[in-house]
Amino acid sequence: MADETPNPEPTLVERWLEEQREWQKTTLAYLDSIVRDEEFLTHLGNAMRGSLLAGKPYPTPVPPAASAPESDFADRLDQVLFAVRELQGQVADLRMTLDEIRAEQGKSGTDANPAAGNSDEGDASDRAQRPDRMQRVDR
């Protein structure tokens, strides 16, 4: 009967060498992910800033050039664009009101849903502030 020789404990040097081989595997895994997944670099960059934020880069300060005051032209264009956004909301209000009127007519006014039929409390205020909004844009 052959003697069973137990596996000898790896020496410290052997363990050190094995550890180095494991590091190579870890490094290769990172390199592999960098090559295979474009977003991985972004995620890795975020991790290097201490964040696990996914899907987008960690926010960084705006470059001075980008935060420079807008030109008068760009500023006025933004105001016009914002006024369009406000108009979009007012049109949405009008459309909802029309829908409600149609719905009320469809129900012949007998079983109208009080919720759908309510003239919204905010409508008056919206109309009231419209001139103010336009003034603000005109400036």
Partner: protein, 383 residues
């Protein structure tokens, strides 16, 4: 066996190497597994859209809207909405929906340059009012329950003051009403220069600047070394815990720019030394927002360890809305809606919205409250 000194050094070096490598392998595992990208956890349909706003209606597992009483969640417009619908098992809105309510969430989106002109009236008497209107039309209900979180609660309170007949019940979560209470994000923003923000010539306040205010509340979180060191230490945590941290980081670190006009107006009306809500001087556009008209049942929840909205400034609502039920929970600003402390909040809000009679068919077991997490900044900010 006693190792010689050189061997002991090598032994400790190998151990240090092994631990460092294990952390990097854990990081690799987390970074390569699907993360939460801020798309919300619960399937939803857009029932109204305006500018950057998307009004989301949560759907059930079969993709159908629910028929229960409508509830609108209003998050702070200076952060991403999905903290209220973070991930499966950790969705506050999903929990309320599973209790049988017809849940809607206002996703204000990410403001761009022209949105720097958005003011209180634009949000309160524009986006929120039309959202409520769209919900009433969609659901057929005359009144809508509203849950406002942080600054979203402030907007909800002002809306309710202007349109009390359209709100059935109002839950305000960590909503600061007393601007004279020191500390908190409003105070920090004031100290950091918000007082100089122009209403007439507003900026789009950059995300990094908004983030810096929050970081001021979490000492060390604005330090690169501190953040990296925190993350490095956390890499010993189990992968599922780190995935939670990643999900929370996707909210905490994904700050959005803020409309300068809104911030200037908020500061001018409600900031330190102005305190328009407590003094009964709040206005929205040209209209006075009479808080005394907030006559519906109100639940105001503060968080004991909240450094963003100090609980004293939240609980002060009792002096302007006498019928408000005041609740102070353990936990921090984020923790009570999406962390460990959420276990104390979610059922309470469901109970409040259901007037103490939560839907008998409620199935809230599957949504759980999760593990709670938060990256270093969030947890520090939570106190």
């Amino acid at each position: 066996m006693t190792l010689p000194v050189d061997d002991r050094e090598l032994e400790s070096l190998i151990e240090l190497s092994r631990r460092s490598r294990a952390r990097l392998e854990r990081l690799h595992e987390v970074l390569t597994s699907p993360g939460h990208y801020g798309a919300g956890a619960t399937q939803a349909q857009v029932v109204y859209a305006e500018n950057k706003l998307r009004l989301l209606r949560l759907l059930d597992d079969d993709g159908q809207p629910r028929n229960g009483p409508p509830v609108l969640f209003i998050p702070a417009p200076v952060s991403r909405y999905f903290i209220l619908d973070l991930m499966p098992g950790r969705s506050f809105a999903g929990y309320v929906a599973a209790a049988g309510f017809d849940v809607y969430i206002a996703d204000f989106g990410v403001p761009t340059r022209e949105d720097r002109f958005c003011d209180l009236a634009y949000y309160v008497d524009g986006l929120i009012r039309r959202s409520v209107r769209a919900i009433r039309r969609t659901s057929g209900a005359a009144e809508v329950g509203i849950v406002g979180y942080c600054l979203g609660g402030m907007l909800a309170l002002l809306y309710s003051a202007l349109n009390p007949g359209t709100v059935s019940r109002l839950a305000l979560l960590t909503t600061m009403v007393d601007g004279d209470v020191e500390g908190g994000i409003a105070w920090i923003a004031h100290r950091m220069g918000l007082a100089g923000e122009s209403y007439e010539q507003p900026r789009l306040v950059s995300a990094i600047e908004v983030k810096s205010w929050f970081e001021m509340l979490a000492p060390g979180s604005n330090s690169l070394i501190g953040r990296v060191s925190d993350l490095w230490d956390r890499l010993d945590d189990p992968p599922e815990r780190l995935r939670d941290v990643r999900t929370m980081a996707s909210w905490v670190d994904d700050v959005v720019p803020a409309p300068g006009r809104l911030l200037a107006e908020m500061h001018r009306q409600f900031g330190p030394g102005r305190n328009g809500l407590m003094k009964g001087e709040a206005t929205v556009g040209s209209r006075k927002a009479d808080i005394g008209k907030v006559s519906m049942p109100v639940l105001s929840v503060s968080a004991a360890r909240d450094t963003i909205s100090p609980p004293e400034g939240v609980d002060a609502i009792r002096s302007i809305v006498p019928q408000a039920e005041i609740v102070r929970l353990r936990g921090g600003h984020v923790g009570i809606v999406a962390g460990r402390a959420a276990a104390g909040l979610w059922p309470r809000v469901v109970d409040f919205l259901g007037d103490g009679n939560a839907n008998a068919n409620a199935n809230t077991n599957g949504t759980g409250t999760g593990n709670g997490s938060g990256n270093a900044a969030a947890e520090r900010a939570d106190g």
